[in-house]
């Protein structure tokens, strides 16, 4: 069944081929695309999205959803800026408090989902609006300018003059997340919740505890993403952050995280984000306007989901055939 093997490889790694295809396409269309400078740019621009998407994917793999990460980022970024600029706390302490706030916001989502016994999609639709309100009240609807240089370095600095700090953070987060998901017992429980929550419960998994930890991780990752984004911008406004939830969801789905839960890997998420990033960057270089880019991105998502469903359906058929009766 050599044919079958090739088919499996293509199906499994289809998105990698798509990414390479796009890179090839844009390299041919624009002389500026395949340059070290530009490719570094793509990574720098996407590093915070990758981190946020990885956080979200913990929730999605466990069968949940979080619409509030964009405003979690907004609130964390604004509060961190206030701590540094208005209150005058040292930068490292402000960052630490900002990250703790992220964990607290995540835990709030988790607690609400558990106690209200409502799907996290609905819960976070509510908390999203709450976080939005708090963020705008905190920032007093104004922009906090001139964030300290040591803070801005997170988003703009380089190590050794070549490697961007944000990319290093992204790599560390990816490795840690991948390790947690694929190697640890906690990672197994995340998948177990998404595959069959009832069986997980009866199988002795403390479902509520795992859910809380998942949301805390998501909050922490959103906060790290927020630090990178705000540091890159150099100033803090409540309107920075929102929208990330949709990029993250789109990338997650592209990267093979199913809405039903139980499936997905970190490398897939990274490829998913990069596909969207390369598309955006490439189209810009080619000279497509922003709105045309939206159309293409939307179509790519639909095509990816369509392909995935088709592939699952044929896999399903094959397995029905195997296990008939």
């Amino acid at each position: 069944m050599k044919n079958g093997l090739i088919k499996t490889v293509i199906n499994k790694y289809a998105i990698i081929f798509v990414l390479f295809g796009l890179v090839l396409l844009f390299s041919l269309l624009s002389p500026y695309f395949f340059t070290l400078q530009n490719l570094t740019n793509v990574f720098v621009q996407q590093s915070y999205v990758i981190i946020a998407t990885i956080g979200l994917s913990f929730v999605m793999i466990s069968g949940g959803m979080d619409l509030s990460i964009g405003y979690q980022m907004s609130l964390v970024g604004v509060v961190t800026a206030i701590l540094m600029k208005n209150i005058g706390l040292p930068v490292p302490l402000s960052i630490l408090l900002g990250l703790l706030l992220g964990v607290a916001l995540g835990l709030t989502n988790g607690l609400a989902a558990i106690t209200l016994k409502v799907h996290p999609l609905i819960v976070t639709l509510g908390t999203m609006t709450v976080y939005q309100g708090i963020s705008y009240i905190a920032s007093n609807q104004s922009v906090i300018l001139n964030l300290p240089p040591s803070y801005k370095a997170i988003g703009q600095g380089y190590i050794g003059g070549i490697i961007p700090i944000s990319v290093i953070l992204m790599i560390i987060v990816s490795i840690v997340a991948s390790f947690i998901l694929s190697k640890t017992s906690f990672g197994r429980y995340v998948y177990a919740l998404g595959s069959n929550e009832e069986a997980a419960h009866l199988g002795g998994i403390n479902v509520n505890k795992i859910k809380l930890i998942i949301f805390a991780i998501n909050g922490l990752f959103a906060a790290i993403a927020s630090m990178i984004l705000f540091a890159r911008t150099g100033s803090a406004a409540s309107s920075t952050g929102p929208g990330t939830e949709f990029s993250a969801m789109t990338s997650a789905v592209l990267g093979g995280i199913s809405f039903k839960g139980g499936e997905g890997k970190v490398w897939g998420i990274i490829v998913g984000v990069l596909i969207l990033g390369v598309l955006g960057n490439g189209m810009q270089l080619v000279g497509l306007n922003t709105y045309a880019q939206f159309i293409v991105k939307g179509l790519v998502l639909l095509a990816a989901v369509g392909f995935d469903t088709y592939q699952k359906a044929s896999a399903q058929k094959a397995s029905i055939k195997e296990s008939t009766n």
């Binding site: 190697k183 640890t184 017992s185 906690f186 197994r188 429980y189 998948y191 177990a192 595959s195 069959n196 009832e198 069986a199 997980a200 419960h201 009866l202 199988g203 002795g204 998994i205 403390n206 139980g262 499936e263 094959a318 397995s319 055939k321 195997e322 296990s323 008939t324 009766n325």
Partner: protein, 494 residues
């Protein structure tokens, strides 16, 4: 029964990659007969009924129905020819009323004539001698009632050939009797019934003829009155297999589990003891509270009052994880919904409840330990799977159940609760599971076995408790085991 053939299958062959699901199967169904179809899991029964109902197309062969010949059927042509099916998973719209479900897809025109629809549904139920409110929502009905709605739906479409796939599986004993009455009435009015069941005793009660399939091959059709369970089993498995139960070799020891006046989850004042080395059967009709009892002991539902003692010490169990830590294991009733992770592989499933013992540095799952655990159970339980990396959804029902057993046994429980351990699995796997349960008891484990199968309860238990309406209505010792006694207590007749 008349002697006209309503449906004949000739040389039906169906290939799937790597398997011949059906190989040159020829079969005839007569008008007005109850024709049972039996075979182990994987024998080709489901494929055959899917071909008859038009869900899949055969690769070779001819289907002749009402004198018309087809190479294959599709669902529409099947229905036009009066073929209807009641599957194990019902095909009802939960949020609609009974009548709307029965008359589903019938209304012509823009508006629904509710009055006419209710009348029609009522008339069908009256003919069936069933009392169900036609205006009730399907989601408010019991499983047995939903099945009756399915049957009524088929009747409303003038079914000439009704396929029933394991119809008794979700039903209690008295409900099965009622279903049989309905089947007999349908038969009287000339409907042919293809009846699929794992429960052989039922076939002898209801069927006129029985056809046996084995490994995709047609084996034989017999007049039910001229055969016996032993012969059928040997035809199904291709070897002599007695419905015998393993003999007890161990001894019964000290009390492992004791319940004192336990209430909660619909249970009233439950008290009993379970001893080491003992298999305690729990009998009762569906809804008697047996599964509720299992879930309460296991911490899946809340205990309101009363106490639970393990090895004489009172314990508090709030969550299943507490129960597992105290050495209790549960094999749940519904293996697909509650037992296994269908999308995950065999080894993943076996290790998930037992990860703590497979860790290195307290966090990382040790692949080598995991592999040896999975291999150990693969050998011990004789799980049939090409590799341990196979997704559980691709295994047969019996092997899925073995994976669930392995998952629970891997936690090394001393008290094991089995809830319907052999529901819907083939004869061969059943025997293996019986031996396994007996072996566990012989090793000194305390076993609580909930079952709806009389033979299993009587054959395997050392003692039986009977439940009715949330209470224990009686305890029967081995010497007094009898179906009549169990049924009396289970029906609340005392």
């Amino acid at each position: 029964m008349e002697d006209t053939t309503i449906l004949s299958l000739r040389g039906i062959t169906k290939y799937y990659p790597g398997v011949v699901a059906l190989n040159d199967v020829s079969l005839e169904f007569k008008k007005g007969e109850v024709h049972a179809l039996i075979g182990e899991n994987g024998a080709g029964k489901s494929t055959l009924i899917k071909i008859i109902s038009g869900a899949i197309k055969p690769d070779k062969g001819l289907i002749e129905i009402n004198g018309k010949q087809y190479n294959s059927l599709d669902p529409l042509h099947a229905k036009q020819n009066g073929i209807e099916a009641v599957y194990q998973e019902f095909n009802l719209v939960d949020s609609l009323s009974v009548a709307e479900n029965i008359c589903f897809g019938e209304q012509n025109g823009f508006l629904i004539d509710f009055k006419k629809m209710y009348e029609k549904a009522k008339k069908i139920f009256d003919d069936m001698q069933v009392d169900i409110d036609v205006k009730a929502r399907v989601s408010d009905l019991s499983t047995a009632q939903q099945q009756l709605v399915e049957i009524a739906k088929s009747i409303s479409r003038n079914a000439k050939l009704l396929i029933m796939d394991e119809p008794s599986a979700p039903l209690s004993v008295s409900e099965v009797e009622k279903m049989f009455d309905i089947v007999r009435n349908l038969k009287k009015s000339g409907v042919t019934i293809i009846y699929i069941s794992h429960r052989l005793d039922e076939l002898f009660e209801i069927s006129d003829r029985v056809s046996v399939l084995r490994d995709g091959q047609y084996i034989k059709t017999l007049e039910t009155s001229r055969t016996n369970p032993k012969e059928l089993i040997s035809l199904m498995v291709g070897r002599e297999l007695t419905e015998s139960f393993p003999q007890k070799r161990g001894t019964i020891g000290a009390t492992a589990l004791e319940l004192k006046n336990v209430c909660g989850n619909g249970l009233k004042d439950i008290s009993f003891t379970l001893r080491k080395g003992e298999i305690l059967g729990i009998a009762g009709l569906v809804g008697a509270g047996r599964t509720e009892l299992a879930r309460l002991i296991f911490g899946a539902d809340k205990l309101i009052s009363g106490s639970v003692l393990i090895n004489g010490k009172p314990v508090r169990i709030h969550l299943p994880v507490d129960a597992i830590n105290l050495g209790i294991g549960l094999i749940p009733e519904d293996r697909k919904r509650q037992g296994c992770f269908l999308e995950k592989d065999v080894s993943w499933n076996i290790s998930i409840s037992n990860l703590r013992s497979l860790l290195k540095w307290k966090t990382v799952v040790d692949k080598n330990k995991e592999k040896s655990l999975a291999e150990d159970f693969y050998d011990r339980l004789n799980i049939k799977t090409p590799t341990l990396m196979q997704k559980v959804k691709n295994l047969s029902g019996g092997n899925q159940q073995k994976v669930v057993l392995a998952k629970t046994l891997a936690t090394n429980s001393d008290i094991i609760i089995f809830d319907e351990p052999t529901r819907g699995i083939d004869v061969g796997s059943k025997q293996e599971i019986y031996h396994l349960i007996r072996d566990l008891a012989d090793q000194g484990k305390a076993i609580l076995m909930i079952s709806s199968e009389m033979a299993e309860l009587i054959g395997l238990s050392d003692r039986i408790l009977v439940m009715y309406s949330g209470r224990i209505t009686g305890e029967i010792t081995k010497e007094e085991f009898s179906q009549d006694r169990i049924l009396e207590l289970a029906s609340g007749l005392n």
